[in-house]
C-alpha cells in the first residue's frame, strides 16, 4: 500500500515537473535567483 502511494507520488512529481518545463518555469526561477539574492542585511 505504502509503495503504491510512493509510486503515485513519483508520478505526480514527474507530472508537475513536466508541466513546469512546458510552461518555461525555469526562466522564472532563473530570474528569481538573479534578482532576489541577498534581500536582508
Amino acid at each position: 500500500m505504502k509503495r503504491t502511494i510512493a509510486g503515485y507520488t513519483v508520478m505526480l512529481g514527474l507530472t508537475a515537473l513536466m508541466i513546469g518545463l512546458y510552461l518555461g518555469e525555469f526562466k522564472t526561477l532563473a530570474e528569481i535567483v538573479r534578482s532576489y539574492t541577498f534581500l536582508l542585511p
Partner: protein, 326 residues
C-alpha cells in the same frame, strides 16, 4: 592450523566487520555544505565565475546568503508564490525526492542539519526530551509550515486576482517569503559573515577610539528590529541545538515538515531483523530524532521523523538494522 579452522576464522572476521555509515555521511555532508555555499569561493578566487543554480533542493539554504549556489525548495516556493507563479517545478521536485528518499536530504545534505550534528558531536552526549513534550513539539513544525503556506498562498491568490497590492505592502519584507525573512540559515551564512567583515574593518578604529556608553547605546538602538530578531533566532537556534540534538529539524523546520509528509510513504526505509534484535535500546539511544524504533514494525519502518541518518544502524551491536529500498 587446519583448513576448517582457518575458514572459520575468516568467517568470524567477516562477521565482525560491519560497514559504518558515519564516515560516508560526514563526507556527503561536508561536500554538500561546500556545494550549497559554493559562491563563497568567488570571494576567495575572484576569477571564478560561479552563479546560483535556478533549482532548489528540500534543504534549508537561504536566498539571503550571497554565498548560496543551491537554494532551498521552500524558499523558491515562497518567492514564486510572491510573483505570483505556481511553483510546479519545485513542488514536482519535493514530491519526487520525498517519494524516493523521504527526509534523507535532512540527514545527508542540509547544511543546517550538519551544523547541528557538529554541535551535538562537540557536546558528546544526546539529551532526551520527555515523550509528551517531544510529541507536542514535533507537531509544531507542521504549524510553522501551515502558517508559511497560508501567508504565501493567500498572497499569491490575492495577487493573481489583482487585489493583493495592499496585502503585499502590509506584509512588507514578509511578502517575499514569510519564513525566508527569519530563517537562521540566511542569518548564519549571509548576515553573520557580512557583520563580521564589517566588524573587522572597524575593529582598529574601535580600538583607537572606543565609543562612550551613550554612543554605544545610540548605535545599538539603530539596529533594525528584523536584524535583531534574526540574530536572536540564530542564538536560540545554537542554544537549542546544544540542549537537544537536531532541535530545529525536530520541532521548527517547515522544510522538514514538508518532507515528513512524504517520509511516511517513501521507498527508502529501515528494516529490523526480529531474529537478531535483542530489544536492547542502543538504536533508540543513538537516534538524534528520538524515534521509538523498537515500537515500529520490523518489516520496514518509515517514521515521519526519520532523517535516514543511519545512526541506529551503526549503533546496533547485533546488526539487526539495515536500510531497505524500496
Amino acid at each position: 592450523m587446519r583448513a576448517e579452522e582457518l575458514s572459520g576464522k575468516a568467517d568470524d572476521d567477516l562477521r565482525r566487520f560491519k560497514f559504518k555509515w558515519t564516515l560516508p555521511r560526514l563526507v556527503v555532508q561536508l561536500f554538500s555544505l561546500l556545494a550549497v555555499n559554493a559562491l563563497v569561493f568567488t570571494q576567495i578566487y575572484p576569477y571564478l565565475s560561479l552563479k546560483p543554480i535556478p533549482f532548489g533542493l528540500p534543504i534549508l539554504s537561504s536566498v539571503n546568503s550571497p554565498a548560496t549556489a543551491i537554494y532551498g525548495s521552500l524558499d523558491l516556493i515562497q518567492l514564486e508564490l510572491s510573483q505570483p507563479e505556481f511553483p510546479w517545478i519545485m513542488l514536482g521536485t519535493v514530491f519526487l525526492i520525498g517519494a524516493v528518499v523521504g527526509r534523507a536530504f535532512c540527514g545527508w545534505v542540509c547544511p543546517i542539519g550538519f551544523v547541528q550534528d557538529i554541535i551535538t558531536t562537540l557536546k558528546g552526549e544526546l539529551n532526551f526530551v520527555s515523550p509528551r513534550s517531544h510529541k507536542t513539539g514535533t507537531r509544531f513544525k507542521y504549524l510553522v509550515l501551515f502558517a508559511v503556506l497560508l501567508i504565501s498562498g493567500t498572497l499569491a491568490l490575492a495577487l493573481y486576482l489583482g487585489v493583493g497590492s495592499d496585502y503585499k505592502i502590509a506584509l512588507g519584507i514578509f511578502a517575499t517569503g514569510p519564513f525566508i525573512a527569519i530563517s537562521p540559515d540566511g542569518t548564519l551564512f549571509g548576515t553573520v559573515p557580512i557583520l563580521l567583515t564589517a566588524a573587522r574593518q572597524n575593529f582598529f578604529s574601535f580600538l583607537a577610539k572606543p565609543p562612550t556608553i551613550q554612543q554605544a547605546w545610540a548605535q545599538l538602538t539603530q539596529v533594525q528590529p528584523l536584524l535583531a530578531l534574526r540574530l536572536i533566532i540564530l542564538v536560540a537556534f545554537f542554544g537549542a541545538a546544544w540542549k537537544v540534538p537536531r532541535f530545529w529539524c525536530r520541532y521548527i523546520c517547515p522544510t522538514g515538515a514538508l518532507m515528513a509528509v512524504f517520509q511516511k510513504y517513501s521507498f527508502a526505509g529501515i528494516k529490523r531483523d526480529p531474529v537478531k534484535c535483542m530489544k536492547c535500546p542502543h538504536c533508540e539511544i543513538r537516534c538524534p530524532m528520538q524515534i521509538n524504533i523498537l515500537d515500529l514494525p520490523w518489516e520496514k519502518f518509515n517514521s515521519a521523523e526519520c532523517i535516514m541518518c543511519m545512526e541506529c544502524v551503526d549503533a546496533c551491536p547485533h546488526g539487526s538494522l539495515s536500510p531497505k529500498f524500496p
